[in-house]
């Protein structure tokens, strides 16, 4: 009862990665099991918690609700890819650090990717917009207040960094 396997090629964090996987391999598991990028976490496997959020061609999606075979030929960005090119913390990551936006850290990767994409769309959100922007991700530790603050701080940091390349 051996399963058919499919060759999947995905550009992950700018690097072309290939693996042969069964059709049912979820994108999250493809990243974690096949590519050993364990920063993407599975919190519910039914698309509600948002911990597994990655960027598919720059757009946030739940990697627990997508099969790896479906994204063959596409580009994926994970939390590991949200760092600066030289490896320092990216603006969203740095803002979480400064604002104490994480406690256990398990849901954090999904917030980082979601906010990274959001700030591309809305570089200067209000507090209310910031809260709305993270409204599809669950966190059980922080009560969100410091994450909202981190969104605003990340927007600042991003602007600063873009102003001084």
């Amino acid at each position: 009862m051996s399963e058919q396997r499919h060759q999947v090629t995905v550009t992950v964090n700018g690097v072309t990665r290939r693996a042969e996987v069964p059709a049912r391999r979820l994108l999250a598991d493809f990243l974690r099991m096949d590519l050993r990028l364990t920063g993407t976490h599975l919190g519910c496997e039914h698309g509600v918690c948002g911990a597994c959020t990655v960027l598919l061609d720059g757009v946030p999606v739940r990697s627990c609700l997508i099969f790896a075979v479906s994204v063959d030929g596409h580009a994926v960005t994970t939390v590991e890819g949200c760092c600066e090119p030289a490896g320092e913390l990216g603006p969203v990551q740095q803002a979480f650090h400064e604002c104490h936006g994480l406690q256990c850290g398990f849901c954090t990767p999904g917030f980082i990717t979601t906010i990274t994409a959001y700030l591309e769309e809305n570089p200067k959100p209000t507090e209310e917009e910031a809260r709305e922007a993270i409204g599809g991700n669950l966190c059980r530790c922080t009560g969100y207040q410091n994450i909202v603050a981190a969104v605003l701080r990340a927007a600042e940091l991003k602007r600063e960094r873009e102003a001084t390349p």
Binding site: M1, E3, Q4, H6, P22, A23, R24, L26, D29, E45, H46, G47, G50, T53, L56, V59, P60, V61, R62, C64, L65, I66, F67, V69, S70, D72, T114, E132, G135, G136
Partner: protein, 290 residues
């Protein structure tokens, strides 16, 4: 919570997809956005032997607007519908409603046509299609294309007229006639949750701003989207007092038969329908009032 084994097909053309469904339809499921299907697979509540993945059918990734209405291809994501300015300008209700579909991340992947085929009685887009009297284009190898009106398309809870050998290739949302205002609103437990009650309304006015027609549609209030014509309560009525809107709400509430679940009782849902109908009609009216 891992999906069961499945044979995968990733057709590159609609013709190929249709051929695959002709051959395997009985044991196949069409995979578009997957935002409803994959959770069910992960929970092993369903286990189709095959998946026909339509995510490569770029020819269906469109939202087009013309004089008559908005055409949404099978691969258009909810987010595409939400962002399409031309579609919003033609039919504001589309954006008003699609914004309440789950959370943005889900809308980035979930497709509007997929949600129509899924026919969830809590789904927003089936209700919008029903209210606008739209239609769905289905394609199969056997029949070629056939067009099904919304009223015939939603057969029951999670059951649409799309046969297992068919693929829904397009949804057509006609522009409302005349000067028509629209509104969408719902009450849900958490932001982004399924609505306890959702209401979409259209209010049509004449040249001097008098109301000549009003219809409402409801989600989570019955097995399929419930369209209720409330014109009798509002046409020619004195709008300023708000009494007419409330009367319309009462008409709707009397016609709906919601059920209890763990989040809300049936009485409360009916009450919400009454309240939201009045609020929604007023907002829809104000959008076109002189």
């Amino acid at each position: 919570m891992k999906p069961p084994p499945v044979v995968y097909h990733g057709p590159d053309t609609v013709a190929e997809a249709v051929r695959l469904l002709a051959e395997h339809g009985a044991e196949a499921k069409v995979l578009a956005g997957g935002q409803s299907l994959v959770p069910m697979l992960n929970m092993r509540l369903t286990a189709p032997a095959r998946l026909v993945d339509v995510n490569r059918l770029d020819e269906l990734a469109y939202v087009r607007t013309d004089l008559h209405g908005v055409r949404v291809g099978a691969l258009a994501r909810h987010a595409d519908v939400e962002r399409a300015t031309h579609a919003f300008e033609a039919i504001p209700l589309l954006r008003q409603a699609v914004r309440t579909v789950a959370h943005p991340t889900i809308r980035n992947r979930g497709t509007t046509v997929g949600s129509l085929v899924h026919a969830d009685p809590c789904g927003e887009m089936p209700a919008v299609l029903a209210l606008l009297d739209g239609e769905v284009t289905l394609r199969s190898e056997r029949d070629g294309e056939r067009i099904v009106a919304a009223r015939d398309f939603f057969v029951g809870p999670m059951e649409s007229a799309c046969r297992e050998d068919e693929i829904a290739v397009e949804a057509y949302f006609p522009r409302p006639r005349g000067r028509t205002g629209s509104d969408w609103r719902e009450v849900s437990r958490r932001n982004g949750d399924y609505a306890l009650c959702g209401v979409g309304t259209l209010v049509r006015v004449d040249e001097v701003g008098a109301v000549v027609g009003a219809t409402a549609v409801y989600i989570a209030m019955g097995p399929v989207p419930q369209v209720v014509d409330v014109t009798e309560a509002v046409a020619g009525a004195d709008i300023a007092s708000g009494v007419a809107w409330a009367a319309a709400g009462q008409i709707a509430a009397d016609r709906l038969e919601p059920e209890d679940d763990i989040h809300a009782g049936a009485d409360y849902r009916r009450h919400l329908a009454r309240v939201l109908t009045a609020r929604s009609l007023q907002a829809a009216y104000e959008a076109v009032a002189p």
